[in-house]
Structure formats: structure tokens, C-alpha cells
Symmetry: C2
Subunit: 192 residues, 2 copies
DNA sequence: AGAAGACTAGACCGATTGGTCTAGTCCTGC
DNA sequence: GCAGGACTAGACCAATCGGTCTAGTCTTCT
């Protein structure tokens, strides 16, 4: 969830990274373009050059980028896991660690970036496609464990549903316990 | 979640109802005071008279009111239920119906009103207290079914975690299926 | 070198924002 | 009736909002 610093990011990427971070912290409507520009160190003309529809385009790009990052976290978490539960547990622990790094102040990275944004069909379609990518990315691992397509999809969805609720509660409580205990919450029961 | 119309609401209540509805639909930052005032049919001076800290006070009042309403829904849902699962299922069905009534556009009433608002400790404390009231209100029913204090609390929290994630997904998908299937999601496994 | 397009820079703009404040009207109690 | 407080009403304000636009600089290709 942090940009790789091995290469100088392009202007466009700098805008996306800054927007992602600020939208997550402040929400879409609570973030002004001036803040994004200041953090990215980019002038306004550049923003409209790269994102002709302005703030709304930025939200679409932030959602896309977030989904790609989450899929990376999911893939890392499930790599080498012997079964779904282990992968999901690692995912939750990784996200709990991210939560701690973010100092407990940020909205859930998935839902904060994909469920809040401009009131436009374009964004909505983007966000939905991004979310479906995440679900598909997670379900793929379920299938690799031998789950049926349906069961894998269901498991992925359940994980994401629980993840959001848990992150939100962790945020309120200022600690990541609900994230770390999510697997037990979900699979202390689902496991079969 | 709709004001009782048996009595003419006070100016203050009109503001709270309007704010609650608009904050749920647009988010706190996405709602301007002018909109709230227009919907409530109240002049600005009145707002500052009743809510000296302005918009932030309104958010606190909206959160409190929302919690009270949700607790009412919970109590209704669990009234007469033979066990936790039945009560929780009825709660989910009631909320799914509310979702349909709201035309799928509103943020989760609990989390949208309690987790988004002014970046202030006062609001945060209010919201956290409100949420804890909801959890306690639900846990009470668990205890009435013979659950230990801890298990009842855990069950209430799990329900709310799942509820938020499900509502959010229902909102994206424009249908309440995830809300209606939440009990099976949670208790097709937890049930013991 | 020159042309064209990509990209940066920041001034400008009308609209909206939430809060402040003055001037009333209404209500209650003496 | 009068005084004081509760409450309504809306004008005013500085700041911010996101978008537009002009004027450059940089890059690439011929």
C-alpha cells in the first residue's frame, strides 16, 4: 500500500498516490484538490492534463490502484498457504500490520476508496469492477485449494465483508484486535 | 429510521432528521448545511441556537438518534425470537427491507452515521458511546437467551461487523441479497 | 532548426462552505 | 403589561471549493 520508491514516480503516479492516501484519511469529499496537489508536489494544470475529469478521474485511478495493491497483499498472503484459512489469516495479519502502520486513522483501504467517491456512474462502474477484481483474485486462491467456483467466491466475499466491518471497528477502537481475530470469527464456525 | 409523524417535530428534531438522512446519503463532508436547512425548513440562526458547535453538533445528535433507532429495530427483531439466530435473522430482514425502502443509495445507517463525521474527539467519543450502546442493546438479547456475557457481546459484535460489510456490498450491487443471506453466512457456521 | 504535441504552472473564476452576527418575534413568568 | 430569555430569520463574511484557461517549457520527430 506504499508506493515502491525504487523509481522516480511519474507526475501522474504522484497524484494517484497522494489522492489515495488523502481519500483514505479524509474521505473523497473531505479532501480538497489543493491538499492532493500539495502532497504530490504537482501544479493544478498537470492534474487536469492527466485527469481531464478532474477529481472524479482521480477517484477512479485511486480505486484501480488500491484494488491492484490489495490483490498483491492477497497473493502474498495466500502464497504457500496450505488452505484457505491459513491464507485468510495471513491476509488479516498483514492488514492488521498495515493498520498499525497507518496509525489507526485511515478508513478501510478497500471500502474507503471503492465505496466513497463522486456520485457518478463512471466511478461506480470503476469501483465495482475493482471490487470484483479483488473478489476474483481471492477466489482464485480458494479454487487452487480445491474449492468449487461457487464456494471460493463465497469465501472471498465473506472475507471481504468481515474485513470491512473489522477494520472499521478497529479504527474506532484504535487497535487492530478485531482484524487479528477475524479468522476465528469467520472460521471458528465456517471451517469444515 | 423514519421519524414518527404522530406529533409535530420540534425545530431541533427536524434538523436532526434532515441531517441524519442527508449524512447517510451524502456523507458528512458531502452534505452542506444549506441542504440540511432546506430539507428541515429551518433558518440558519436556529441551527446555531440549538447546536452551538454547528455542523459537528449536528453529527453528534444524528449519531445518537441513529443508535436509538437501531436499538429499537434490534429490540423489535429479537422480541419473541426463540434464540439468537432467529432474532438476528429478523434483524437482517428488517434492515434489508429498510435498504429496499431507501432505494439502495444510502450508506449503512450505523456506520455511515457513526464512523464518518467531524475530525474531533467529541464526535468520536459520541459515536463510540453510541456504537457501544448498540452492541450492548443487542448483547442483552443474547444474554436473555442464556449466552454468557462474553459470548453475547461477541455475537453482537459479529452481527454488526457482518452487517456493515453486507450493507456496503448490497449498496454496491443495488440489491439486498447480502443482507438477507448474512445469517446463513454467519451462522451456517457459528451455530452450535 | 522548426513544428507539434505533451506536460507544467499558476492565475482566475463563480459557487459553495460553515460560522458570525444583528434584528427581530415568540413565550413565559412576575 | 413588561422584562427577560428562548428562538427564528437571514444578511454577511473570509475561506475554500473544483474547474477553466492562458502562457509557458519540455520532448520528440522530421
Amino acid at each position: 500500500m506504499f508506493p515502491a520508491m525504487s523509481e522516480e514516480p511519474t507526475t501522474k503516479d504522484r497524484l494517484i498516490f497522494a489522492a489515495t492516501r488523502l481519500f483514505r484519511q479524509r474521505g473523497y469529499d473531505g479532501t480538497g484538490l489543493a491538499e492532493v496537489l500539495a502532497e504530490a508536489g504537482v501544479p493544478k494544470g498537470s492534474l487536469y492534463h492527466h485527469f481531464p475529469d478532474g477529481k472524479a478521474d482521480l477517484a477512479c485511478a485511486a480505486a484501480d490502484w488500491t484494488a491492484s495493491e490489495i490483490i498483491r497483499v492477497i497473493d502474498d498472503a495466500f502464497a504457500g498457504a496450505p488452505d484457505w484459512r491459513h491464507g485468510a489469516t495471513t491476509y488479516c495479519h498483514k492488514m492488521a500490520k498495515l493498520f498499525d502502520i497507518l496509525n489507526s486513522a485511515d478508513a478501510c483501504p478497500i471500502f474507503g476508496l471503492l465505496f466513497e467517491g463522486p456520485d457518478q456512474n463512471k466511478f461506480r462502474a470503476h469501483a465495482e469492477a475493482a471490487f470484483n477484481r479483488i473478489i476474483a483474485g481471492a477466489a482464485r486462491h480458494g479454487e487452487a485449494f480445491g474449492m468449487s467456483v461457487e464456494a471460493a467466491h463465497e469465501a472471498a466475499e465473506t472475507l471481504m465483508i468481515g474485513f470491512q466491518g473489522s477494520w472499521t471497528l478497529a479504527r474506532m477502537r484504535r487497535n487492530a484486535t478485531t482484524l487479528r481475530s477475524l479468522p476465528n470469527r469467520l472460521y471458528g464456525a465456517i471451517a469444515r
